[in-house]
Subunit: 464 residues, 2 copies
């Protein structure tokens, strides 16, 4: 380690790490998300960080995702093992870049061990070799739920998703949000009805999906390039701009479906959407939490029915904070089976980073400790240890200060870490089985019998 | 996906994945471990899965650990970016193989943002390119705590470790265990006192550390090869075989320290050990949970003082289920500073695998859901959704069965997943605002008013 000072010990660009106050915030959010997921019966799984490369590339291509391959670096004296270990060629392995392809592989691997409909959650980290820029990470945690069926999947599973999104973000307390719901079949059906060729529908949907980002003029331009005539373009723009209350929009859609040619797909989409909306209402989601937005489509592929986006009101520029939808051909990939599914995803690492930057949430204190038992004199240490253990047994998180320092310095050390309470026991107090309890938030200091200490601290914690 | 069926979708050898019942067990254990860690004021951090290779190799060499390097696999149309992205050469990156080197780098990166003594926990997964064999994983989760100081670190931090180990394994309820405590200075001091050359002491400690694994005869042989004469070997064997109660062993050690030449190091070790033992007792750890075992040394390097191993009684062949110790020169690596630390580690993935195989613990049920609201008739679905939501709001995990099936099949579906309760609401019951509650464990079925349902289920859950 003579050259220790010459090593560049910075973390690799794009691979985030967490200070305690940040990691505590992440765990706080993960606990909330997990509690809500589990309350709807979603069960946890974990798939390996590493999959065979051919599995990760099984969806025909990897899209824009740059996959990280892994390759063992053997110590010089063990180079010979490399080939023996079969680490190359058909065994090539790489880090997962999302949780969808691994879910498909997982279901194929464990088909007979799982119960369907299979409702799972997963909160693993994934890896993408993106250029590290603002808000883009090469390693990030995604919180995903999906319900997968082997044949039919009730639309009520689609209806549960807005209820789950609502509960999570109400618990997180980040202000008003709006869940925007649409159905891809409504878009494809309408496009068909206004005479757009089947082979152009997907690209047209891709274009209108960018409306918010690029604006109406550029959407018109892009549709023109696709060969869409101005009259059709205007109909499309008018259609995706339909607004009003949920019931008004559903009425307009029903009316349109009755009056357009080739309405089957559109009608199916409207029926699905109406069923989902009824379910959302029956699940008790407040009317101001959701809306129908015919302009959202969620990218090009995958989704075949219901789609969701979630907007933080007043912070629209953050983009969707939770998105998802229904798909038919994603998860059965390795089985050659149609397995309908519906899911949502929270890109937690990016979300936290954006919410912190926008000042919408704050990090937590630097330690989970709520109490510091200070060190007044070394010979009382047995009492400090006993007091600390009693507080822990009562469910409190406690640091015993082992280092002898001036009392003021010990208060400072506690305060710096966000520890609210200091427990002070000097010789006199010890003899009388008492303590002084100092609340660093208020500055107040009160005398408390040792036997009542835990109760007193918990009462005061409950009040703040 | 035409060739979907030709893809080998098995998970790569050595990279474990979890079925729901296994992942739920892991989360259950992680929750316990986290609660105990936090009760002692340990705060969570996360370091990236990926570090610069030079950081991972900074401890002179990587030992026996095969490190996995990562390398971006670009889509064919983006090969040109590879060089631009600076992904090679001095920027070479790899997956972390333990949490110690990354902790050292983390502290160097955030020195001025952390408060010392810095008590952190970390429960990340790490990666090693080991040959996958029984009980060896290439990806596994480690639960580590360490306290790091910038100068002095009180021995009471060492004393807290057995208290923490005790609380965790008592909560997990895996049977009787014994924490074996030693101090490396006692070993090095004794070796010095019996005349073993300073440059041979480390290798001799390495040899006696294997006593349990290879037996006394082979230890003697190995010591002879090191040039240790039979008389010294016998003294060493007698020494590390010293047994008796904690106080008896401490007495013997005090006595030896008074009667051997060059006793300074030995005396220091004995004093440290006695201080730690006093602290462990003051922390209220039961006498039957810990012992002094002079034969444990924890490998060759790192540790300079207190060392711990934890044995599951009756299952000694499992090896240590929680180990650790004190070190002086590990964490200051990148700063060129001495930063004393003490820590313990639970190799959770391996531990779970071994405990399951030995039948010491069982997996949990396949779902967190405790209740299934069954589907009696489609037109009552609004009621099923409302009942489900009320139960969720009361803190229960609930699956609503959306699929219409015979009642017996629905009970089967619940039972298969380990869901204890089914809630049955038919037309008559709905009209009377009642339900039938079926306990699948007992077979019992009782009538419960809907408004009392959550309370009744929680009461019954509390009783099982």
């Amino acid at each position: 380690m003579a050259q220790g000072d010459k090593i560049n010990f910075s973390n690799p660009s794009g691979f985030p790490e967490f200070l305690p106050s940040e990691k505590r915030l992440e765990l706080y959010l993960l606990d909330i998300i997990r509690r809500v997921f589990e309350s709807y019966g979603f069960t946890p799984i974990e798939t390996p960080a590493v999959e065979r490369l051919e599995v990760l590339q099984a969806k025909g291509n990897q899209g824009d995702n740059i996959i990280y391959g892994i390759e063992p670096i053997l110590p010089p004296n063990r180079q010979a093992e490399k080939d023996k270990a079969g680490e190359t060629g058909s065994e090539a392995r790489a880090l997962k870049f999302d949780q969808t392809v691994p879910l498909a592989a997982y279901i194929a691997r464990h088909l007979n061990e799982l119960t369907f409909p299979f409702a799972r959650y997963q909160m693993d980290v994934v890896f993408r070799g993106e250029r590290a820029k603002d808000g883009r990470f090469r390693q990030f945690r995604q919180c995903d739920i999906d319900v997968i069926a082997r044949r039919e999947l009730s639309l009520l599973y689609d209806a549960q998703m807005p209820a789950i999104i609502t509960e999570i973000f109400e618990a997180v307390n980040i202000g008003d949000f709006l869940i925007r719901i649409n159905n891809r079949k409504i878009l494809t059906g309408f496009f068909k009805s206004v005479g757009i060729a089947a082979n152009k529908i997907k690209s047209c949907i891709g274009i209108i999906d960018n409306l918010e980002k690029i604006g109406e003029a550029k959407v018109k331009q892009a549709l023109a390039i696709e060969g869409i005539i101005p009259e059709q373009t205007q109909k499309i723009i008018d259609f995706i701009s339909i607004d009003g209350s949920v019931d008004q929009v559903l009425d307009k859609l029903h009316h349109l479906a009755e009056n357009l040619p080739e309405p089957d797909q559109l009608k199916l989409g409207v029926t699905e959407l109406a069923t989902v909306i009824t379910g959302v209402r029956n699940l008790g989601v407040s009317e101001h939490r959701f809306t129908i937005d015919l302009s959202i489509a969620r990218g090009l592929d995958y989704y075949t029915g219901t789609v969701y986006e979630t907007t933080l009101l007043g912070h629209e520029s953050l983009g969707s904070i939770c998105s998802g939808g229904r798909y038919e051909e994603l998860v059965g990939t390795f089985l050659g089976e149609k397995m309908p599914g519906v899911g949502i995803s929270i890109g937690l690492t990016r979300l936290i980073s954006r919410l912190l930057k926008a000042g919408i949430i704050n990090t937590l204190s630097a330690t989970p400790a709520q109490v510091m038992v200070v060190n007044m004199q070394a010979d009382l240490m047995p009492i400090y240890l006993k007091v600390s253990q009693n507080l822990r047994r009562a469910g409190l998180n406690v640091i015993t200060n082992f280092d002898k320092r001036p009392l003021g310095k010990q208060f400072q050390l506690a305060d710096k870490q966000g520890i609210q309470f200091c427990v002070i026991v000097g010789a006199e107090e010890a003899a009388a089985e008492k303590s002084s309890l100092k609340d660093l938030n208020s500055g107040e200091q009160v005398e408390v019998a040792l036997e009542n200490l835990a109760e007193e601290i918990k009462k005061r914690l409950g009040n703040t």
